[in-house]
């Protein structure tokens, strides 16, 4: 079985300050991990993915995430928030055995001027 926990339902930052969105996972097998972003009334866009290669993964729009097996974490970071980053972010786990995705409950990122 696999599961993912997003530790914060909402995160508020000021424009230009760092972003940290936290995610912990559990999986019986070697997981693939993803972060997706969803802007209001839009579909989901892949930000980045970890698939057992480098543990520090760089994604689009300046986001990156680090896979830490010992902590079962896959936190998403960005050095400097932009107003356009305001959206819902989903941490997702998939393992090869099931070939389906398990979504976290999502974290709403709010960016103030």
């Amino acid at each position: 079985a696999q599961s993912v926990t997003q530790l914060d339902s909402h995160v508020s930052v000021s424009e230009g300050t760092p972003v940290l969105l936290r995610c912990n996972y559990s999986s019986s097998y070697s997981p693939s991990l993803f972060w997706y972003v969803q802007h209001p009334n839009k579909g989901l866009q892949l930000l980045l993915k970890y698939t057992s290669a480098a543990t520090l993964v760089k994604g689009i729009n300046g986001f990156e995430a680090e896979f830490k097996k010992s902590e079962t974490s896959f936190h998403l970071t960005k050095p400097s928030a932009h107003m356009s980053d305001a959206a819902e972010y989903f941490c997702v786990v998939s393992d090869e055995r099931y070939s389906t995705l398990t979504f976290g409950k999502g974290t709403m990122l709010l960016v103030s001027p």
Partner: protein
């Protein structure tokens, strides 16, 4: 072409209507998915097609009827829906089988969704 296209973007229907949602991709992906997303919730898996055959049905009511007429198309037929079925319906696709593996493994590409309102 790296997109999943969903039509219509918005649909309003009565409880006695019959309508369909359509999803199309031309990436050669052989796994296609329907998800349902309620407001402020993560997407919930409804159906998975693999090589045009239904492989997963997550106990979805029969008023939702999926169809995969070919490797590029996925439909969701709707009949006698309830107001609580109002949601954003997302289609996604993924390379499967021999096309999977490497950096593309397990990556789902989502469409923009069809916003359904049932009156």
């Amino acid at each position: 072409d790296t997109e999943v296209t969903q039509t219509p973007k918005h649909l309003v229907m009565g409880m006695t209507n019959k309508k369909s949602l359509k999803c199309e991709q031309h990436m050669g992906h052989r796994a296609m998915y329907w998800y349902k997303q309620k407001a402020k919730k993560p997407p919930e898996l409804m159906f998975v097609y693999s090589y045009e055959k239904l492989s997963i049905n997550e106990s979805v009511p029969s008023r939702f009827s999926p169809e995969c007429p070919n490797s590029s198309l996925l439909n969701l037929h709707l009949h006698a829906l309830q107001p609580e079925d109002s949601a954003l319906y997302l289609c996604a696709s993924r390379a499967a089988g021999e096309l999977a593996g490497g950096s593309g493994a397990n990556v789902l590409t989502f469409g923009a969704g069809s916003r359904l309102t049932v009156l």
